[in-house]
C-alpha cells in the first residue's frame, strides 16, 4: 500500500485537472495579460473566468471583489495593514489568541508600533465569548480579524454573526478563511464580512496563490503599489497560470463540497471514533459540535508529538503535531495553550486532516498501527507505568526544570 497523506490542512495535492488547465499558460499563452498580441489573447479571458470561479465558491456579489495575491499570508497582511492605513485615527485591533501566525506575528509587530491589540481568549473547547467581543467593539477599533476555522482543531468561529456585530458598531471585519474555503459552504453576499483571505494550496491549487476578497465599498489601501494589475489594488504581473489553476480548483471544490461534508466527514469520524475507543488516555480537542468536516486533533497523554509523527512516518502515514518540538518553538502550540490543555497532553497532539483523495481503507490502516505506536512510546515515558499512567503523574515525576 502506498503512503497515506493525512496532512491536508498543511497543504494539499494539486488536482490533476488543475494542472491540466495551467499548462497552456506556461507554454502557449505566456504573454503578459496587459500586452496586445496573440500570446496574451486568452490570458485576460482566463483570469476573468478564474475570478468568476472563485466568486462562485465564496458566493460574493461581484467578481471585481476578488483580488489575487501570492498567498494567504499576503492576503492577511494586506487586509490588516489596509484597515489601519485607511483609518489612521483608530489604534485598536481585535483578534483571537488562536489565529495563525500570519495574523498574530503581524499584530505583535503592530503592538510595538503603538497599537492596542485585543486578543480574545477561548474556552477549553476553543470557543469565543461573544459578549466579551461585543464589549470590545468601539469607534477606536480599526479592524476585527477572526479566523473562520482553526487550522489545528478545525473549530469554526461564528464569523457571520461577529461580522454583523462589527458592522453594527462601525468596525471593519476581516476573516482568515484559509482553512474554511472549499470545506464548508459560504455565501459572502449575505454576510457583513468586509474582507476574507483564502489560499490556493489548501484546496488542491498550487502553492503561492491566494485571494483577498474585498467587499465593494470597503475603504482600502494597497500593500503593493505599482502597475494597474488587479485594478491597482495589488500591483505585480499576474501569476496567470496559478490564477487559472485556482479558478479550476474552486470550481472542483464547489462540486465536491457535499462529498467533503458527507464522505470525507465519515472518514474523519471513523478514524476519530476508532482511535478514542481503542486507545486509553487520549481525547479530541476543539469544539466537537462545530468543526471542519475533515479535521481531527487528538491529544495522546504522556507522550510527545514529534516521536509519534516519526513512528507514523515510518509506517507510511503523514500527519502533523502541535508539539513544541516539531516547530522548534518554546511552547506547545499556542492553540493548545489557549484551550488550557494540560501540558502532558498538549505536547502529544496529533492532527489528522483529510481530503477527497483519502479512503476508508486508509483509515483502517491508521487504526491498525496507532495503538502500537502509542504503546511503544508510553513504555519509554516516565509518566507511564505498565498499563496506565503512574499514580498522580505530576507528583510521581517532578523533574528539576532548567
Amino acid at each position: 500500500m502506498t503512503d497515506i497523506y493525512l496532512d491536508n490542512n498543511a497543504t494539499t495535492r494539486v488536482d490533476p485537472a488543475v494542472v491540466d488547465v495551467m499548462i497552456p499558460y506556461f507554454l502557449e499563452q505566456y504573454g503578459n495579460p496587459s500586452s496586445i498580441h496573440k500570446f496574451a489573447d486568452g490570458v485576460a479571458r482566463g483570469l476573468k473566468h478564474a475570478r468568476q470561479q472563485v466568486q462562485a465558491l465564496i458566493g460574493c456579489e461581484h467578481d471585481s471583489e476578488i483580488i489575487f495575491t501570492s498567498c494567504g499570508t499576503e492576503s492577511n497582511s494586506t487586509a490588516i495593514l489596509s484597515a489601519i492605513k485607511a483609518q489612521p485615527n483608530k489604534k485598536e485591533i481585535i483578534t483571537t489568541t488562536v489565529e495563525h501566525p500570519a495574523i498574530l506575528s503581524l499584530c505583535d509587530y503592530l503592538e510595538k508600533e503603538g497599537y492596542t491589540i485585543h486578543r480574545m481568549p477561548v474556552d477549553k473547547a476553543g470557543r469565543l465569548n461573544l459578549n466579551a467581543y461585543k464589549s470590545l467593539l468601539s469607534d477606536q477599533v480599526a479592524i476585527a480579524s477572526v479566523m473562520w476555522a482553526n487550522n489545528e482543531t478545525g473549530t469554526i468561529f461564528p464569523v457571520a454573526e461577529m461580522a454583523a456585530m462589527a458592522n453594527a458598531a462601525g468596525v471593519m471585519f476581516h476573516t482568515d478563511a484559509v482553512q474554511a474555503v472549499g470545506k464548508i459552504p459560504m455565501l459572502l453576499q449575505d454576510t457583513k464580512i468586509d474582507m476574507l483571505s483564502l489560499s490556493g494550496h489548501k484546496l488542491h491549487a498550487p502553492k503561492g496563490i491566494g485571494v483577498l476578497y474585498l467587499r465593494r465599498g470597503t475603504r482600502y489601501r494597497p500593500l503593493l503599489r505599482g502597475g494597474h494589475q488587479e485594478r491597482g489594488r495589488r500591483a505585480g504581473t499576474e501569476n496567470s497560470a496559478s490564477i487559472v489553476g485556482l479558478g479550476k480548483a474552486c470550481e472542483l471544490a464547489l462540486e465536491y463540497i457535499e462529498y467533503e461534508n458527507t464522505k470525507v466527514k465519515a472518514m474523519r469520524d471513523r478514524l476519530e471514533r476508532g482511535i478514542t475507543e481503542q486507545i486509553p488516555h487520549c481525547f479530541v480537542t476543539g469544539d466537537l459540535n462545530n468543526r471542519l468536516p475533515n479535521t481531527t486533533d487528538i491529544a495522546f497523554e504522556y507522550i510527545e508529538g514529534e516521536s509519534i509523527l516519526m513512528l507514523l512516518n515510518k509506517a507510511g502515514i503523514a500527519a502533523s503535531s502541535g508539539s513544541a518540538c516539531t516547530s522548534g518553538s518554546l511552547e506547545p502550540s499556542h492553540v493548545m495553550r489557549a484551550m488550557d490543555i494540560p501540558y502532558t497532553a498538549a505536547h502529544g497532539t496529533i492532527r489528522f486532516s483529510f481530503s477527497r483523495y483519502n479512503s476508508m481503507a486508509e483509515v483502517d490502516k491508521v487504526l491498525k498501527v496507532m495503538p502500537g505506536i502509542v504503546a511503544t512510546l508510553r513504555k519509554l515515558s516516565p509518566y507511564w507505568d505498565g498499563n496506565g499512567p503512574v499514580v498522580d503523574p505530576e507528583k510521581a515525576f517532578a523533574p528539576a526544570y532548567a
Partner: protein, 302 residues
C-alpha cells in the same frame, strides 16, 4: 521535518536501555523548559569502584530527546562516576553524528540528568547552573538568555557587539531583528536607549585600520591580540583557539575543546576570519592547522 542523522534515527527507533533500572541506587530527573521534554535517568553504581554497571532512561520527549537519552546510557555504562562527570553535551551530540541547532538542548538535558543522578548517588544536591531561553540565532545555536546576560555583563550596545561577544548574528543575519529587540529591552531596563547606529563598544584588540602594510611580526602580534579578544566567547562554549603558524596572509589555527570537530567549527573559523579582516584592514585567511601538513607535503613533492 528535522534532518536527523542516521544515528539519531537508529537510537530513536531502537532505543538502548529503555526503562528504569530495577535496583537503581542513583536517579536524576530533569526537564527542559524550552520544549517540555523531561528525562529520568536511573543508574546502578558499584559502591566500591564507583563504576556504572547499569543505566536506564525514561523520556517524555521528541525524537532527539529519546535518541540523546539512549546514547547517553550507552556512553556512560562501564565508566566510573568521575569519568562520567566529564561527559559533555557535545560528546552526546557527537555520538549522534550531530543534532540540529534547535535540538542541542536535548543533549544538554542528557548531561544534566547524568549530573543530577551522580549528585543523587553522592547525597549532594544538584543545582542547575544554566538557564535556557528561546533560540535566537539558529546559525550558532545561541539563545535569548545567553545574549541577555552578555549584553548586561559587557555593556553591549549594538548587534555588532553581540556578534563579537557571542557569535550570534554572525551568519545569515536573519536573527538581527530579534537581537535588536533584546538590546532594546535590556537597554531600556538599564535606563539607556537603543541606538542602532551607535559605535561598537571598545574592544581591547580593536585598532583602527592600519594604512601601511604590516610586517610579518606586526601581523602575528595583531592576530594574537584579536584571538585573545575572541577567546572568552569561545571558552563560554567549552572551546578554545590556538595560533599555530602564519604564512603570508594565511593564519593556521588549532580549534580545541568543544570547538574541535563541532558542527560550528567551520562557522567559527569564518567568524574569526571576518573579525581579523575588520580589525587589521587587510585580507587574512584562516585555515585549520590540520590543512598545513597537506600544504607542506604538496610543496615537498612539487
Amino acid at each position: 521535518m528535522w534532518d536527523y542523522s542516521d544515528k539519531v534515527k537508529e537510537h530513536f527507533f531502537n532505543p538502548k536501555n529503555a526503562g528504569a533500572v530495577v535496583d537503581a541506587n542513583a536517579t536524576g530527573e530533569v526537564g527542559s523548559i524550552s520544549c517540555g521534554d523531561a528525562l529520568r535517568l536511573t543508574l546502578k553504581v558499584d559502591d566500591d569502584s564507583e563504576i556504572i554497571l547499569e543505566a536506564g532512561f525514561q523520556t517524555f520527549g521528541c525524537g532527539s530527546a529519546i535518541a540523546s537519552s539512549s546514547v547517553l546510557t550507552e556512553i556512560i555504562k562501564g565508566m566510573t562516576l568521575d569519568e562520567a562527570l566529564k561527559v559533555t553535551n557535545q560528546d552526546i551530540a557527537d555520538q549522534l553524528e550531530g543534532l540540529p541547532p534547535e535540538k542541542m538542548h536535548c543533549s544538554v538535558m542528557g548531561r544534566e540528568a547524568l549530573q543530577a543522578a551522580i549528585a543523587n548517588y553522592r547525597g549532594e544536591e544538584w543545582k542547575d547552573d544554566h538557564e535556557e531561553g528561546a533560540l535566537i540565532c539558529k546559525c550558532f545555536a545561541i539563545d535569548a538568555v545567553m545574549i541577555e546576560e552578555m549584553v548586561w555583563a559587557n555593556k553591549l550596545r549594538t548587534v555588532e557587539d553581540v556578534t563579537n561577544f557571542t557569535k550570534a548574528g554572525g551568519g545569515c543575519a536573519a536573527c538581527h531583528e530579534d537581537i535588536e529587540a533584546i538590546l532594546e529591552k535590556v537597554l531600556t531596563e538599564k535606563g539607556e536607549k537603543f541606538d542602532p547606529n551607535a559605535a561598537p563598544i571598545e574592544q581591547p584588540a580593536k585598532v583602527t585600520a592600519i594604512k601601511t602594510p604590516l610586517t610579518n611580526l606586526q601581523r602575528i602580534k595583531k592576530i594574537e591580540q584579536v584571538l585573545e579578544s575572541l577567546r572568552p566567547s569561545l571558552m563560554a562554549d567549552g572551546g578554545d583557539v590556538e595560533l599555530v603558524e602564519v604564512i603570508g596572509n594565511t593564519a593556521y589555527v588549532n580549534m580545541t575543546g568543544a570547538c574541535n570537530g563541532c558542527q560550528m567549527a567551520a562557522m567559527t573559523i569564518a567568524g574569526i576570519q571576518q573579525r581579523l579582516m575588520e580589525v587589521m584592514g587587510e585580507f587574512i585567511k584562516v585555515v585549520p592547522a590540520t590543512e598545513m601538513s597537506k600544504l607542506v607535503s604538496i610543496e615537498a613533492v612539487s
